[in-house]
């Protein structure tokens, strides 16, 4: 593990930098804060959209990130932001650290763990941010770690699943992974032994545990529904993974290729891998997920690290474990010094950033701020739907589609696509839906089209955005 500390230190510095100084540009935080405020005000987790979404008022909603929303509300500015954003960085680093510890427990050498940790940390970089799914990463790593514990502590995985389900719907993976692990264990042992029975029991309990949240059975139902949800085609994170994704090419792909080359069975000296079928179940399932959608690149890395590092140790002489010997003074010093250096490095970097004003990249804050000053009712269409999250909770403003994304019906998404792609009925859709305000990136096709068709005027413009108002709408003199 000793070399891995250096990797973790670098990753921690990077995560703290990104989290605190560069908040995400997708607008999710805005609706999550708004959700948190709603929950704290009403003491109820909403189960449907409100009138703020004029295209689909009262459509059913499972706000799976409700706990994250509350945290986001408390961490909306000042020191609260530093703590909240820093906690997200800690979550990512904890996931990486747990995966490394897991690899060590499975017999990986220090060099192999550090080598794989480099790729795993790269895999986490691209999708890392102050986001709910980041909180799920350490929970996944911990869940997998506990499944490998041969004893009653294995049942702690059930509690992890319950906590996980209150942060993110990916908790749905917990019972599936445990069931796969139970099956793999049965194949590894060639019988249904105590370990298999325990894992099977964990799988059953985890299936119930993921319902221990404000949504009950609706959470796993929602998560299962995502597999066939057509809105995935509108969200870039759900696009099929390809070699242009740097996190994949330089992160998960190398781990995947090593796994492909080495397989899961045995070592160079014929040492049997006692986890063979369990590894195969995990690699198969998460490999499929990683190749199917870019958002799964990072979780594949978390899963693969504890499998690939021991395989390297078994198969490649360079990565083999050193012969056990009594620790020298240098070893003892290194075991403390390396984590300390890593921690110090991360703290220094983050300390430099605390108090700096967060940048607001690529969010339409300026046109929406200008809109708030224009009198009248505004039914807003944002060419990037996530921008409209910033309009939630603003008096007299309602949105066509915002970053909550999932609860909006398919018809709304189809209309959104028709308008953004300027399909033949795009003007009729805007008319029919009663849109009177459009926020659009300057010079993009929709912006060009609005300039051509007439009936709209520019109420605000800067070098990045334009705010268009319907010429007959309220507020236009």
């Amino acid at each position: 593990m000793k070399y891995a500390w250096l990797v973790i230190g670098v990753a921690a510095a990077r995560c703290f930098t990104v989290a605190i100084a560069f908040p995400p540009g997708d607008g999710d935080l805005w609706w999550q804060r708004w959700l948190g405020a709603q929950i704290l005000r009403t003491h109820v987790v909403p189960r449907s959209l409100g009138s703020e979404a004029f295209s689909a008022p009262y459509a059913p909603w499972v706000p799976q990130e409700w706990l994250f929303g509350i945290a986001a509300y408390f961490g909306r500015s000042g020191a609260g932001w530093d703590v909240f954003a820093g906690a997200c960085a800690v979550a990512a680093i904890a996931a990486l650290g747990l995966a490394c510890v897991h690899a060590v427990r499975r017999g990986a050498s220090a060099v192999a763990v550090a080598f794989c940790a480099v790729f795993a940390s790269i895999a986490l970089f691209e999708s890392f941010g102050v986001r709910a799914q980041v909180v799920a990463w350490p929970l996944l790593a911990l869940f997998l770690f506990l499944l490998d514990v041969d004893g009653p502590w294995c049942y702690a995985a059930v509690a992890v699943a319950a906590v996980w389900s209150n942060w993110h719907a990916s908790a749905m993976l917990a019972p599936v992974v445990a069931a796969g692990y139970a099956l793999g264990s049965a194949l590894d042992e060639g019988r249904v032994g105590p370990r298999t029975r325990r894992l099977a029991f964990v799988a059953v309990l985890a299936a119930f545990a993921i319902c221990l949240n404000p949504f009950g059975w609706d959470l796993p139902r929602y998560a299962l529904g995502l597999f066939n949800n057509p809105i995935k085609s509108y969200i870039s994170e759900w696009k099929v993974t390809d070699i242009d994704d740097l996190s994949f090419t330089f992160g998960s792909l190398p781990l995947m290729l090593i796994a492909i080359a080495l397989g899961t069975r045995e070592g160079a000296s014929g040492i049997r891998n006692e986890y063979r079928w369990r590894d195969l179940c995990l690699l198969g399932a998460f490999g499929f997920l990683a190749l199917s959608a870019a958002r799964n690149i990072n979780i594949f890395a978390i899963v693969a690290l504890p499998i690939v590092a021991p395989a390297l140790t078994r198969r490649i002489r360079f990565f083999a474990r050193e012969e056990p010997r009594p620790p020298t003074t240098l070893d003892r010093a290194a075991s403390w010094a390396l984590p300390a250096v890593a921690l110090g490095f991360a703290v220094v970097v983050s300390w430099q950033l605390v108090g700096k004003v967060p940048r607001q990249p690529n969010l339409a804050t300026a046109p929406l701020a200008a809109l708030a000053k224009i009198p009248g009712e505004h039914d807003i269409f944002c060419s990037d739907f996530a921008w409209c999250s910033l309009a939630l909770g603003v008096p007299n403003e309602r949105v066509f589609l915002d970053g909550r994304a999932d609860p909006f019906p398919r018809a709304v998404w189809e209309d959104f696509e028709d308008v953004t792609y300027l399909r033949p009925d795009w003007r009729a859709i805007l008319e029919r839906r009663g849109v009177n305000t459009i926020v659009v990136q300057r010079d993009k096709p929709l912006d060009q089209a609005l300039a051509i068709v007439g009936g709209w005027h520019v109420a605000y413009a800067d070098k990045d955005f334009r705010l268009w108002l319907r010429s007959d709408s309220a507020g236009h003199s």
Binding site: D244, A259, A261, A268, L283, G284
Partner: protein, 482 residues
């Protein structure tokens, strides 16, 4: 030859003899049924229009001009005279001949290439892993090929790869000679021939780590031979650079799709993922570590351009069969003699072939529309400068030069960067899209329905729709409004 090398060679020959070549009657029957399945799948697979049209155009130019043209002609107005080195001239001639012979002959030739591909995969896997696993390897490779089985698809490349891998696996003077000659033919047939030295190098690494000195020596000779062979084309020294660009692995996003999910969705979802899963299960077993470079390079190639998922399948399947034979000796050994198993394997392959044929036929349906519009332009007898949002559609207009000249067609490599950039600007509806078209006097565009450019062109008063079909619209520019 040293005594050791001779002994090793003798041992190899004895090993060859010990491996049944066509085994039992049951095995032959299963084999024949598989071949039939492959043929059916080829027949129902859609033609690769881009490859077919470009090949026919190139072949026709050679026949008409009695020479191999090394530069673009006046069929394009943005890159006329650009050097393309006549890359793929032999393939062009073959495609032109097939186009004259009719669709039945084309399909038969393609099916033959497919059967040759899988026969060599099976043969390579058989000598590494025994018969049942060899059939399984062929089935696995087939699943990676289901998006490439159409006429002018990637199956010819797969056939070259399959034969080359088979030849190079047992290094020797004959293998080196055959590999060199094969590479000469391949390089003159298509740009993919540039892969030959890379394959030879990866397989030489196999010999370096695990072969005899005799094998190592001849593996190196084969590498040198294939390396020299890639210069035996009309493009001479320029072939490697032109061919590498022709592989379309440089991520020229926006000009053509390259991601596996766009290029070969079915092969990626079924074949590629199955191979990856199988590799997780068996990996490169002990004694097979030397095949890792080939396995990994093939995987990277497939991820860079989905058209090469079939190459990945062809190269990886026998390696995995060998690993499986080591991991599950019972499967490789005892089942070899079982007629029942051979029948089951054959039936399994046929079922897979049937499913794949059905799927491939379904997935490749709406392709010809933009091509038809491009070809229809010639009917009005006027001169046009044509822009196609899908560059492959413009391939259909190439034969109508000089009346119709295109902005860019499917031969992307020789087009200058400025043209590619302008192509992307227009396709994505950049604010300067009108200038990009007018500065080159484009008067007709074919755009996909429902895409950004279609909406923008439709809003512009200077452009009017003159024809449309299922997936595309043909716009013509009118006079400037006064």
């Amino acid at each position: 030859m040293t005594a050791g090398a001779a002994a090793a060679q003798g041992s190899e020959r004895r090993h060859e003899a010990a491996v049944p070549t066509a085994g039992s009657i049951a095995y032959r029957a299963a084999y024949a049924i598989c071949a039939l399945g492959i043929a059916v799948a080829t027949a129902v697979s859609p033609r690769d229009n881009a490859g077919f049209l470009l090949g026919t155009f190139a072949g026709e130019r050679i026949v008409r001009g009695h020479a191999i043209p090394l530069h673009f002609g006046n069929e394009t107005f943005t890159a006329a005279g650009a050097f393309d080195g006549g890359v793929g001239w032999l393939g062009g001639l073959a495609t032109y001949a097939l186009s004259l012979a009719g669709p039945a002959v084309s399909i038969f030739a393609t099916a033959l290439a497919a059967v040759a591909t899988f026969a060599f995969v099976e043969a390579r896997a058989r000598r590494l892993a025994g018969r049942p696993l060899a059939l399984a390897a062929a089935a696995l490779a087939f699943l990676c090929a289901i998006s490439s089985l159409g006429v002018a698809g990637g199956i010819v490349t797969a056939a070259f790869v399959s034969i080359l891998a088979y030849v190079l696996e047992r290094p020797g003077p004959r293998a080196a000679l055959v590999a060199t000659l094969l590479t000469v033919v391949w390089c003159n047939t298509s740009a993919a021939g540039v892969l030959a030295p890379a394959i030879a190098l990866c397989m030489a690494a196999t010999s370096t780590f695990g072969g005899t000195p005799y094998e190592r020596r001849w593996a190196r000779v084969a590498v040198a031979g294939t390396l020299l062979a890639i210069f035996a084309t009309p493009a001479l020294w320029a072939y490697p650079a032109l061919a590498l660009e022709g592989l379309r692995i440089d991520r020229t996003v926006g000009v053509v799709p390259e991601n596996p999910i766009d290029v070969a969705p079915l092969a990626y979802h079924i074949g590629f993922l199955l191979v990856v899963l199988a590799a997780f299960a068996v990996g490169a077993r002990r004694g097979r570590e030397s095949s890792i470079p080939l396995l990994l390079c093939a995987a990277l190639l497939a991820l860079a351009n989905g058209a090469y998922v079939v190459v990945f399948g062809v190269l990886a399947a026998p390696i995995l069969a060998a690993s499986a034979a080591e991991a599950f000796p019972a499967l490789a050994g005892s089942m070899t003699a079982s007629m029942r198993t051979d029948f089951v394997a054959g039936a399994f392959a046929v079922v897979l072939a049937g499913i794949a044929a059905w799927q491939a036929g379904r997935s490749g349906a709406p392709l010809a529309d933009g091509y038809a519009l491009a070809a229809s332009l010639a009917a009005d007898g006027r001169s046009h400068r044509l822009y196609c949002s899908n560059v492959d559609w413009c391939d259909a207009a190439l034969p109508f030069a000089p009346n119709i000249r295109v902005f860019m067609d499917g031969r992307i490599a020789p087009y200058p960067d400025a043209v590619r950039e302008a192509k992307r600007d227009v396709a994505f509806g950049d604010v300067h899209w009108k200038e990009r078209l007018s500065e080159r006097n484009v008067d007709t565009v074919i755009v996909a329905k429902g895409r950004l450019l279609s909406g923008l062109v439709g809003l512009s008063p200077r452009w009017r729709v003159v024809a449309s079909d299922g997936t595309a619209l043909l716009y013509e520019r009118g006079a400037a409004p006064r």
